[in-house]
């Protein structure tokens, strides 16, 4: 059955927030929504801005609803520019398995809700 006639439905808009480094907290880029080829450039720009301002950057991905290899490439670039920590959500597109398959866990520190509760069990390492 085809149902091409139905509308595509609302497309979630993504938001990228740059939070400058504060007392004891590194610069943070918080991404919310879907990241794809149409807006990964904005995400990259926010990461570049954070890396220019701070040697340590947190990419808060806990509110990302969709992302793909374009986002992984942006995170790799950020990891070359700064000491990158990736915060992953309990569910969502940024999973430990995807980070491992891509090799991002080798160049960035990955924090999951589980590892945040148990810092000793944190996966990955910073380099």
């Amino acid at each position: 059955m085809t149902n091409d006639a139905s509308p595509a439905g609302p497309v979630p808009h993504a938001r990228f927030e740059f939070l400058p480094a504060g007392e004891g907290a590194p610069a943070t880029v918080r991404a919310v929504g879907d990241i794809d080829v149409t807006n990964v450039g904005q995400f990259q720009a926010a990461l570049d801005q954070a890396a220019a301002a701070s040697s340590a950057v947190i990419a808060d991905m806990t509110a990302v609803t969709y992302c793909d290899s374009a986002t992984i490439r942006a995170l790799f670039r950020a990891a070359r520019q700064s000491r990158l920590t990736i915060q992953a959500g309990a569910v969502g597109p940024i999973t430990e398995s995807l980070l491992k398959v891509s090799g991002l866990d080798q160049v960035a520190t990955v924090v999951t809700p589980d590892s945040a509760r148990d810092p000793g069990g944190m996966r990955g390492r910073s380099s």
Binding site: G9, V37, S69, G92
Partner: protein, 159 residues
């Protein structure tokens, strides 16, 4: 349950059988004339997955695999194409049974051949898309011809 109970109650034992009826297969086609077509395809798939009661990590994995295939189709179908040419069409289909989901992503353009280093791309370079599809789905096949490319992927659903 109480709404289904006859006013006079039941004369005998009652057995309740719950059956998850798979939704009708999805077919969504968009012209690859603008990258926003990718979001339109995602919206359709998201809606369909929800109707199929497929959620959580399985739904996320399927969304990413389909998104990668569609992004590849878009990129390769539009690269080097004259502006005057008819836009390439990208067609997504999804079909669910109780035990598995099958997706196809087809385009009417031509893919670039995958890079030779597709199994071990250098970190941060292109080539992760196909690796992600393989990592997230149980089977991935790609058929290319002069008339287009079709990626077929299946994922076994947890009972």
């Amino acid at each position: 349950m109480s709404a289904m109970t006859p006013a006079a109650g039941y004369d005998d034992d009652v057995a309740v059988l719950i059956y998850r009826h798979p939704p009708a297969p999805l077919t969504a086609q968009v012209p690859a004339d603008d990258p926003s077509c990718l979001a339109a395809l995602r919206a359709r798939l998201r809606q369909w997955l929800s109707a199929a009661s497929i959620g959580g990590q399985e739904a996320t994995d399927i969304m990413i695999a389909a998104g990668e295939a569609a992004a590849n189709a878009f990129e390769h179908a539009t690269t080097g194409r004259p502006a005057s040419a008819e836009p390439v069409q990208i067609t997504l289909t999804a079909h669910a049974t109780q035990a598995r989901v099958q997706l196809t992503v087809a385009d009417t353009g031509r893919w670039r051949p995958p890079p030779a280093d597709r199994t071990h791309p250098a970190p941060g370079t292109r080539g992760h898309g196909i690796i992600f599809m393989h990592a997230l789905m149980d089977t991935v096949t790609m058929d290319s011809s002069a008339h287009g490319t079709t990626v077929t992927m299946t994922k076994d659903l947890k009972p």
